[in-house]
């Protein structure tokens, strides 16, 4: 789809994504909290308990020292047991806290990845052309991993540490107002220092993440180009490229390391200064002694508290790093989740359409149809489809038109494929197709021919509904191809891709594409149709042989691609330069197979040369393209 389209129709305001509450991750977080209120409550309770348990031991110790200074040791064993009990409680509650934090963090990252996968479904096709798969994968993998550490070692730990700081300041106030005031003066200064370090680190982290993403992208690319690299001996070139990416990351990391190294020592030195001031003033007597009001026991307890207040504070310093890393990652995830989507009215309905005036094809009916076809009762199934289908609205048309209401299902009454004064241009605005019309009758075969770059592939993407036209309308069986519901798609349009895309799995999976509606009889039939039954039968485990790059020859993979397209017996078959990798004999074999199986099916092929033309009508689009230019 043209991006201008999307921008025009996008309801999203880019700037709103900047505010925290509007960040898409925030809504994911809230959703997890709503779904798991128990876990969240447990998290809160256990943080409170662990903080409280960590605050009390210095007071017990202070009491012991005061007793000792007064030369009284009667309470000591009891206090020692109390001390141990508090330490044990602190240990258990802190361990429990870590477990709950980890669980919660996992839930959130799971939800983030689920949301991102859903997002993939709604992105315009052009997004995938403009964005490298490696880059996208890096967002799913690396950036979400930083979100994981954001929770495990970042935000929630930070909340606990902040609670510790607040608790300590409060408890110090009850023992020594002077030290409490001293802390109130010191902590804001240290907080300011903390913020400075944070800001310095953020820039470095963003650079580092980008460099890591670039380096990640290069690895699958290297594997994909491995043969070329070997043949040309250009390993040094590839290494230099990779080195550039990792050195960039290295430099950013160095900057970040400085801030990281300097933070904690500064904080702890400040702690020593506070203790020194406290002790000096406590020793002065008079008004300052009243203000600080300390016995030896409170002094010991307070030295421990000062140590404790700076330790969570310097933990916060560590957590800053985790959070900053994650902020860079969350920003990239936020960008991804805020990408412009296919407008709602240009999307296929997600569920089976609602009942009512159109009892539309459910999965059950769809598989009914498939079974009916298997029995050879295609006409019967067709009739049923017709009965359930509703005539489309205006089809896939220029953005201004609102689509017709309700579900849109393919209709057999309309022309099989219809392009009505279609215009299309990519982002650069140079028209690729302008005012192009074509009507293909049901059962007709049409080959669209034209020289390289004339717009044949674009035309194919328009017929597939991957792109929306800037003007005019595209209809497949009277329906805008992008609005065909998912469960109807493979039964409506079969598509043979230019290059076979192997999926992880066995031979069966290559044909069925993990589609539950595809039965093993369907796969057998499709393989027989394309003449691969024999080759598959010869594999050690038949259709359940794991499919690797050398399982089949290039030509056989192309046949597999056709089997994949026709396994659901689509009524319209779109062939994208189908014969590109087939020799004459196989080409003929495939065309014969399609001939035999395609009574009542429409075939639209694009081809760059007439030698491959299928029988039937040939439409040349060179003239169209030339006129456009």
């Amino acid at each position: 789809m043209s991006r201008q389209n999307v921008e025009k129709r996008s309801a999203r305001d880019g700037s709103s994504a900047q505010t925290f509450a509007a960040h898409p991750l925030w809504s994911v977080f809230c959703q997890v909290v709503r779904r798991l209120p128990g876990l969240f409550a447990l998290l809160v309770v256990i943080i409170v308990v662990s903080v409280a348990a960590s605050l009390l031991p210095p007071r017990v110790l202070g009491a012991v020292v005061d007793d000792l200074a007064a030369n009284a040791g009667a309470r000591t064993p009891g206090l020692a047991v109390l001390f141990l009990g508090l330490v044990a409680l602190e240990g258990v509650s802190t361990a429990g806290r870590e477990v709950v934090i980890v669980r919660f963090g996992q839930k959130v990252t799971h939800a983030v990845r689920s949301r991102m996968a859903e997002k993939l479904d709604t992105l315009p096709s052009a997004y995938f052309v403009d964005h490298a798969a490696g880059d996208l994968t890096s967002r799913f993998v690396n950036d979400v991993n930083t979100v994981e550490s954001l929770f495990a070692d970042g935000i929630i730990s930070m909340v606990a540490d902040v609670a510790s700081v607040v608790g300590i300041v409060a408890i110090v106030f009850t023992e020594s107002r002077g030290l409490g005031l001293l802390l109130l003066v010191t902590l804001p200064i240290l907080f300011w220092f903390t913020r400075r370090v944070q800001r310095g680190m953020l820039g470095a982290q963003v650079d580092n993440r980008a460099a890591v993403a670039e380096a990640n992208r290069q690895i699958p690319e290297t594997l994909a180009s491995f043969r070329t690299i070997k043949v040309l001996g250009c390993q040094p070139f590839m290494r230099r490229r990779y080195d550039r990416a990792i050195v960039h990351g290295f430099d950013a990391m160095e900057r970040s390391n400085f801030y990281d190294a300097v933070y904690s020592p500064v904080i702890l030195t400040c702690g020593a200064v506070v203790v020194a001031v406290m002790m000096t003033l406590s020793a002065q007597g008079g008004a300052t002694a009243v203000l600080f009001g300390m016995t030896v026991g409170t002094a010991v307890a307070n030295i421990a508290y000062v140590g404790k207040v700076f330790s969570p504070l310097s933990n916060i310093g560590m957590e800053i790093e985790n959070i900053q890393q994650a902020v860079a990652g969350t920003r990239r995830i936020g960008e991804f989740l805020s990408e412009d989507e296919i407008p709602l009215d240009a999307r296929a309905p997600q569920e089976a359409p609602a009942p009512g005036p159109m009892p539309a094809a459910s999965a059950e009916q769809a598989s009914d149809a498939a079974r009916a076809n298997e029995r050879g009762a295609a006409a019967d199934a067709d009739g049923r489809r017709r009965a359930s289908a509703v005539a489309c609205g205006s089809g896939l048309s220029a953005p201004q038109e609102a689509p017709a209401e309700g579900a849109l299902l393919p209709s057999s009454a309309a022309p099989a494929v219809e392009l009505d004064r279609v215009s299309f241009s990519y982002d650069d605005g140079v028209p690729v197709i302008s005012d192009f019309s074509l009507s293909v009758a049901p059962g007709e075969r049409v080959t669209i021919a034209g020289r390289t770059g004339a717009g044949k592939s674009t035309l194919m993407k328009l017929m597939l509904g991957l792109y929306l036209p800037d003007g005019g309308a595209v209809r497949v069986l009277g329906c805008a191809p992008n609005l065909i519901p998912a469960h109807e798609r493979r039964r409506t349009i079969g598509y043979v891709e230019q290059r076979f895309r192997r999926v992880p799995g066995d031979v069966f999976d290559q044909v069925a594409l993990f589609d539950d509606a595809v039965s093993s009889a369907d796969v057998d039939r499709a393989l027989a149709l394309v003449g691969l039954s024999g080759a598959v039968a010869r594999l050690p485990r038949g259709v359940h042989e794991p499919c690797g790059p050398t399982t089949f020859s290039q030509g056989q993979f192309q046949l597999l691609s056709i089997a994949r397209a026709i396994v659901c017996d689509p009524r319209v078959l779109l062939l994208d330069e189908i014969t590109a990798n087939l020799d004459s004999a196989t080409e003929r074999h495939v065309l014969d197979a399609i001939d035999a199986a395609s009574s009542g099916r429409t075939v639209v092929a694009i081809s760059h040369r007439l030698t491959e033309a299928v029988t039937g009508r040939i439409v040349r689009i060179d003239a169209v393209a030339d006129a456009a230019k």
Binding site: E98, S114, D243, A261
Partner: protein, 688 residues
């Protein structure tokens, strides 16, 4: 094989003393661990992201063909310098000296804190009694000065240790990538893309992080524990012995948990590998799944991977983070004795006479020691985690071997000629006037190529069953045949990616496989997949070599199209050239192949996505090209329009080849005749 690993392991232990203690503690398990490590290295390239013992049993075909690459990889591993953890420490010795100096100052200085705190409390006690208040200030100042010095040393230590980890990270990633490039294609294709990605990035990050923590903790834990222990013993050795019994208890428990922690970590990594592979499939196949209406179905499958990962990672993280507070509590249990017996000391009833300062210092010292030793357990987990990562990346680390010829000949044609000069004759300067710049010539002089009785089989199926053919310099030879007749296999045989099952390919009488293995720039190849990289048009053609890009772009008829691109030759063409059409991708691939002149060029169906007129024009340019460079071209095609113009034609049928001129084959070879008839019939049909 085992011997190599024994050696490298033993050497790695020398540089990694902590691991040695672990392994020795394993007792009988140590031998098993070594076996597992070498097994891991051996099985990594064959199993798809499943380097475990059970991944091997039913799924893997234990044919000889499967074993071959493994053996070769092991040989290569031994040829390259065997990677050792110690090497990475050794190479950074300057930084590590800095870390050591600042680390010792910091950690010995750490005892100053408790000591001063005890003195401060005692001084306050004295002042509250009778002593002059002014004696507090010098003590307080001395305290601040000591802490400032110690923390200054700490800053340096932290900075150096991070720099060290960053350097190691950089070096490991660089080596990993270089060694990835040094593998054969067969070795690399056997591994899942997702697994390699995980290896390269998160394993190296984990490993470097583990080494950083290890280095940090040597000082923060090792040195400081010794300093604290000495201090405790000095204050009251009997009490010290009692309370020092507790940290080892937590340490022993940590040792017990080690196996579970490592197991959970390995399982989480494996689950992450699967998740990454699923992510890559989901994103790179997004449009295919959309076209077939399967996006939601794939999301559901992705959800299963997420569930699995959540479970595995949750378990691993729980082990990594929840145990430490428990260890800390156990370590701290000795505080009861400090309080009770220490109080007796102060009151003069115990083993040693103490004042308040001694009590406070002892308590503070013990608390710090207990907390430190609980992070010794944490260190242990970090080292465990690093070890899991290390074992996974170990086979891919080490300086790449230059002997296999990587790196030879990529800088520029000139440098290749230097490399080839020793053994092969240098090409003579071009004679005929052609549209090609005079500098375009092969670094290795063209020689006749002879294929005799070549047999290539996959499993027990012969794809090529004894093929013989010949090419002479300057010739263009067409290869055709039915689908699965072995055309592409014949083309790939010239890449010598795997040994031929029988027969030879000779270049000027020498074994081609040997020349290729030695890195000689003899063969050029363009397959179905143009294998473009996400870079500019120019970078894709050059791939780092010098020369005239415009000439090749013109030769493949891409000059005008490229000029119309937004940034011309500097236009970035996207992932695998996704911004280009199929025909443009193929022509950029062809331009790249011609840009790197080779005496033998194999083109597998280069014109399939190109229209007839363009095909004819490019073929004329190819003629001129071979006239100048003397290259022999093997042009594999299923379309025969160009075949009458070929120097000779090879017709493949069921793994056997017939070679002759177009006219001869038409006369003598029925299969070829039928193929030609079929195509010309279709051509006429198309023209109708």
């Amino acid at each position: 094989m085992d011997e190599i690993h024994d050696r490298s392991r033993a050497e790695s232990l020398a540089g990694f003393p902590h691991v040695r203690t672990q392994l020795q503690a394993e007792g009988d398990g140590a031998a098993a661990g070594r076996d597992a490590a070498s097994d891991c290295a051996a099985s990594a390239p064959k199993a798809e992201g499943k380097p475990t013992a059970e991944g091997r049993t039913p799924k893997e075909k234990s044919t000889a063909a499967d074993r071959r690459p493994r053996g070769r990889m092991m040989a290569k591993t031994s040829a390259s310098s065997a990677p050792r953890v110690g090497d990475y420490f050794k190479r950074e010795w300057r930084l590590l000296v800095g870390v050591t100096l600042s680390g010792v100052v910091y950690n010995v200085g750490m005892t100053a804190g408790p000591w001063f705190e005890g003195q401060l409390a005692q001084r306050l006690c004295d002042i509250l009694g009778a002593r002059s208040a002014s004696s507090m200030l010098p003590l307080a100042l001395a305290y601040v000065a000591a802490i400032a010095l110690v923390q200054g040393a700490r800053f340096l230590k932290r900075l150096y240790v991070r720099k060290f980890a960053n350097n190691v990270n950089l070096r490991m990633k660089g080596e990993l990538y270089a060694n990835l490039l040094g593998k054969t294609r067969e070795e690399v294709v056997g591994e899942g893309v997702g697994t390699v990605m995980t290896k390269a990035v998160s394993d190296v990050d984990d490993c470097a992080e583990g080494m950083r923590k290890f280095t940090t903790e040597i000082f923060d834990t090792g040195v400081v524990l010794v300093a604290y222990t000495v201090m405790l013993l000095v204050y009251d050795w009997r009490l010290a012995l009692i309370v020092l019994a507790f940290p080892p208890v937590s340490y022993a428990i940590a040792m017990r948990m080690r196996k579970q922690v490592a197991g959970a970590s390995a399982e989480a990594k494996a689950s992450m590998g699967r998740l990454n592979a699923a992510t890559l499939d989901r994103t790179s196949g997004a449009l295919s799944y959309r076209v077939f209406g399967l996006e939601q179905a794939r999301d559901a499958a992705y959800e299963d991977c997420l569930d699995d990962y959540e479970r595995a990672a949750g378990r691993a993280n729980t082990f990594a983070s929840a145990l430490q507070p428990l260890y800390k509590a156990i370590s701290l249990a000795g505080a009861v004795f400090v309080i009770v017996l220490g109080a007796r000391n102060v009151m003069g009833l115990g083993w040693t006479a103490w004042d308040i300062a001694a009590f406070t210092t002892f308590m503070s010292c013990f608390e710090k020691l207990a907390i430190k030793s609980s992070s010794a357990a944490k260190l242990f987990n970090a080292v465990q985690k690093a070890r899991v990562s290390w074992e996974r990346i170990e086979p891919y680390l080490g300086a790449p071997t230059e002997a296999t010829g990587e790196g030879v000949g990529a800088e520029s044609p000139a440098s290749t000629s230097a490399g080839a000069a020793a053994e092969l004759p240098i090409a003579a300067a071009a004679v005929a006037a052609t549209p090609w710049p005079a500098g375009v010539r092969c670094a290795v002089a063209p020689q006749p190529v002879e294929v005799s009785d070549l047999r290539v089989s996959f499993g027990d199926k012969d794809v090529l069953a004894g093929v013989s053919l010949a090419l002479r310099p300057g010739q263009i030879v067409g290869v055709t045949g039915a689908v699965a007749s072995g055309k592409s296999a014949l083309g790939r045989a010239f890449l010598c990616e795997r040994p031929a099952d029988a027969g030879t390919i000779r270049f000027g009488g020498r074994d081609l496989a040997g020349l290729v293995a030695a890195g000689k720039p003899v063969v050029g190849y363009l397959g179905h997949d143009p294998e473009l990289i996400s870079d500019t048009v120019e970078a894709n053609v050059r791939m780092g070599a010098a020369g005239d890009v415009d000439a090749v772009l013109a030769a493949v008829r891409m000059d005008r199209e490229v000029a119309a691109f937004p940034a011309g030759r500097a236009t970035v063409i996207g992932d695998a050239g996704v911004r280009l059409s199929g025909g443009q991708q193929a022509r950029i691939g062809l331009a790249r192949t011609l840009f790197h002149p080779r005496p033998l060029i194999v083109l597998d169906d280069p014109f399939s996505a190109v229209d007839s007129a363009t095909e004819q024009a490019i073929f004329r340019n190819l003629r001129a090209y071979v006239a100048q460079t003397g290259s022999a071209v093997l042009l594999i095609s299923h379309r025969l329009t160009l075949f009458p113009q070929m120097n000779s034609v090879v017709y493949l049928e069921e793994g056997h080849a017939v070679q002759g001129s177009h006219a001869d084959l038409l006369a003598t070879c029925a299969g070829y005749r039928a193929l030609c008839a079929l195509q010309s019939a279709r051509q006429e049909g198309g023209a109708r």
